[in-house]
């Protein structure tokens, strides 16, 4: 009796503490993002994720290297068309504390669905307490090696933690590393994107050198991006498994993209506001999951057409009558792909690269040398290239050695100074590509300019960031 009472009390206390922290953050920093409230709550009541599991009727976890946040936001948006009570970590805080923060900020007795993106390194820990009905795996790219060692390790961790679970896997058929999860013998649903006009004929990605079945070289009939594409192994016969859901065609129409979806032999096309082949994968992953979760095809495509991104990972602003496109870049593949989109855009434009080297960005900035910065050489009407962040010179160097003329390079002390220049240039479009920790600050600065208000909050935040606190 006494034990149960204490447990309940601890739970309530943890929620109270978490909410208080969240409240304070909102007042002073105008931000509820982040994992701190969850961290505090977990330190008081470590089993809190079990409580989350208990309150969600069913759960979906989304993991992999790229596309987690977009797929998560898309899926939640789609499923909201039928189920109003959804718990999700929409802002991308994807470690256990982040999931708990989402719970604390949206506290309910029960939810129809819990839909969460989970960091590859945290997957093991999360499924210890939270038993998913569905797991979506997007892809494995080399990402921040200093945190995980190598992608084989991330693969192994997720593989082992899935072994004892009763769950349905929704797998990207076009990534040999992901389709390999079929070995687990779970219920597998495969999705993918067929050959289309945005395909590359060649990609220099090391993962393509090893067949997961026998270590031989894989043959590719087409590449979508990275090692995603149509592959087969001449030696052991390893190849793309049959897809239940696939995007069969991509058309670019003005500002929008039109995708043709083949959902279990039913054809349906829909429009999507955001570009890039990687978004075809994000759309396909989330529609596959939604359809498997019991939604109907019409609702799914209607919902996806009304999706708008509000998180800055891909966000469009209109400032000084210029189209400002902000896209988060976090690893070589995503950076190369975004620059490919820039190169296809014929409008008069400038570019701002923001490179930070905080732990969440990856402390090692060498990853930018694995990205196809050379894609910029194809860009027309590109006026100026600006650099900001903690390591702007490293990025400028990478551009210089890609063979891009340094004549129009501008290196800035901070983001605000860069915005003062780029937002007043004689261009139609502005591309801003920040790494993770620069993203939220950038959004605040842009929003402050739209609202025309003072920049006090941003400056206060900058001040707090630069305060040197003793390490705990």
């Amino acid at each position: 009796m006494g034990k149960i009472k204490i447990k309940k009390l601890k739970f309530k206390l943890s929620i109270f503490a978490g909410r208080s922290i969240s409240f304070i953050l909102k007042i002073f920093l105008k931000s509820s993002a982040g994992a701190l409230p969850g961290k505090v709550a977990m330190s008081i009541y470590p089993d809190i994720l079990k409580e989350v599991d208990h309150r969600c009727k069913k759960t979906v976890l989304i993991t992999g290297t790229n596309g987690k946040t977009t797929t998560n936001n898309l899926l939640v948006h789609i499923v909201k068309g039928k189920y109003p009570r959804i718990l999700s970590n929409l802002r991308g805080a994807n470690m256990p504390q982040g999931l708990v923060s989402a719970f604390i900020n949206d506290l309910k007795e029960d939810y129809d669905w819990g839909i969460f993106e989970v960091d590859e390194g945290s997957f093991k820990r999360v499924v210890r307490d939270l038993k998913p009905d569905y797991v979506v795996i997007t892809n494995f790219f080399r990402d921040q090696l200093d945190r995980y060692g190598e992608i084989e390790k991330a693969f192994q961790d997720i593989y082992e933690s899935l072994e004892p679970l009763h769950t349905t896997l929704i797998l990207n058929a076009d990534d040999p590393l992901v389709s390999n999860f079929k070995k687990l013998g779970k219920k597998n649903i495969f999705y993918g994107v067929l050959e289309n006009q945005f395909c590359d004929s060649n990609q220099n990605v090391v993962e393509t050198n090893f067949c997961p079945g026998c270590n031989e070289h894989l043959d590719y009939s087409y590449f979508n991006y990275g090692q995603l594409g149509g592959y087969s192994c001449a030696r052991c016969g390893f190849e793309n498994p049959e897809r239940k859901y696939e995007i069969t065609d991509i058309q670019y129409q003005g500002e929008n993209y039109r995708f043709v979806l083949n959902a279990d032999q039913n054809l349906k096309d829909f429009e999507f506001k955001y570009g890039g082949v990687y978004n075809a994968y994000n759309c396909c992953a989330s529609t596959s999951a939604a359809l498997e979760m019991g939604m109907d095809l019409d609702t799914v495509t209607q919902r996806i057409e009304s999706f708008e991104y509000k998180l800055g990972r891909m966000e469009n602003f209109l400032i000084n009558e210029k189209n400002v496109k902000v896209v988060l870049v976090k690893n070589p593949i995503s950076l190369g792909e975004v620059l490919k989109i820039l190169a296809m855009d014929d409008s008069k434009k400038s570019l701002l690269m923001i490179l930070n080297d905080n732990p969440a960005d990856g402390a090692d900035v060498s990853w930018i040398w694995d990205a196809e910065i050379e894609n910029v050489l194809q860009a027309k009407n590109l006026k100026n290239i600006h650099f900001a962040g903690r390591r702007p010179h490293d990025m400028a160097l990478r551009f210089k050695y890609a063979g891009i003329s340094t004549e129009n390079f501008h290196i800035h002390e901070n983001i605000d100074q860069a915005l003062d220049k780029i937002l007043y240039e004689d261009v139609e479009t502005i591309y801003i590509l920040p790494t993770y920790t620069a993203l939220f600050h950038l959004r605040e600065l842009l929003n402050a300019r739209i609202e025309g208000k003072g920049r006090t909050i941003s400056y206060f935040r900058e001040f707090l960031k630069n305060l040197k606190l003793p390490k705990s």
Partner: protein, 240 residues
């Protein structure tokens, strides 16, 4: 004038952006008016090593590394002769470890090296990760080298190091040595990649190659403003 730059196993040893070093050498040669020829050498792409002026060996995953060890063993003697003949080599991280006698992993298993140099690398607890600043032993100006290290293995030797550690860990986190130099062969743990941010080291390698091939004694000066700003930034942020 032309320089042949051999990129060893670029399909297998290409972690941490190290191939950016080859891009750096190639561009600097172009800017200096020297024709760079990039030659890929790999398991299904064997070409004569005798034509090489600069050899670059990066680091790879364990899987990549064990594949190339057995392949490269056939060329051990030839590599040794090329090094003795003062050809220019740069071996980074796993490549640097590979030139030694052996690598001993956490369980005590021994993985043989090419035994070109008399040193060994032991896996010890904790990875040595972070930005690193050293003082170079080659007499280059500026005297600092900057980069990023990320290795679990500790290398021990009495050879000339490439640098003395000012900030960071170096070969083993104990003796303040980073890397090794023997004739024109350089081994190092510095990623970054190391050459773009240390153009004095890049030009040192290019000059050594030209000296050997064409008896050239000095290089033209390139505009290295951004290079040294990047170099200085690491020192500003990470010096003790």
């Amino acid at each position: 004038m032309e320089i042949n730059i051999f990129q060893m196993y670029p399909d297998l040893l290409n972690l941490y952006g190290d191939l950016g070093n080859v891009t750096c050498l190639k561009r600097r040669c172009e800017w200096l008016g020297i024709q760079p020829n990039i030659v890929n050498f790999s398991i299904n792409q064997e070409v004569s090593l005798q034509d090489g002026d600069i050899f670059f060996i990066g680091g790879g995953s364990d899987r990549g590394q064990s594949l190339i060890y057995s392949h490269l063993l056939k060329y051990k003697k030839e590599l040794e002769e090329l090094i003795e003949d003062e050809k220019i080599f740069m071996a980074i991280c796993g490549g640097y470890q590979l030139l030694g006698n052996k690598y001993i992993d956490a369980e005590g298993n021994k993985m043989p090296g090419l035994e070109i140099f008399d040193y060994e690398t032991k896996s010890e607890e904790g990875r040595l990760i972070g930005n690193i600043i050293t003082k170079n032993t080659l007499g280059l100006k500026p005297d600092t080298l900057v980069g990023f290290e990320n290795h679990g293995g500790r290398t021990y030797h009495d050879l000339q190091p490439l640098g003395k550690v000012i900030s960071g860990h170096g070969n083993n986190g104990k003796d303040e040595k980073e890397g090794m130099v023997y004739k024109n062969c350089i081994g190092t743990y510095l990623h970054g990649p190391v050459l773009p941010k240390n153009p004095h080291l890049a030009d040192y390698m290019i000059l050594k190659a030209l000296e050997k091939k064409y008896e050239i004694k000095a290089l033209d000066k390139l505009d290295d403003k951004i290079e040294y700003l990047a170099h200085e930034k690491v020192i500003d942020l990470y010096s003790p």
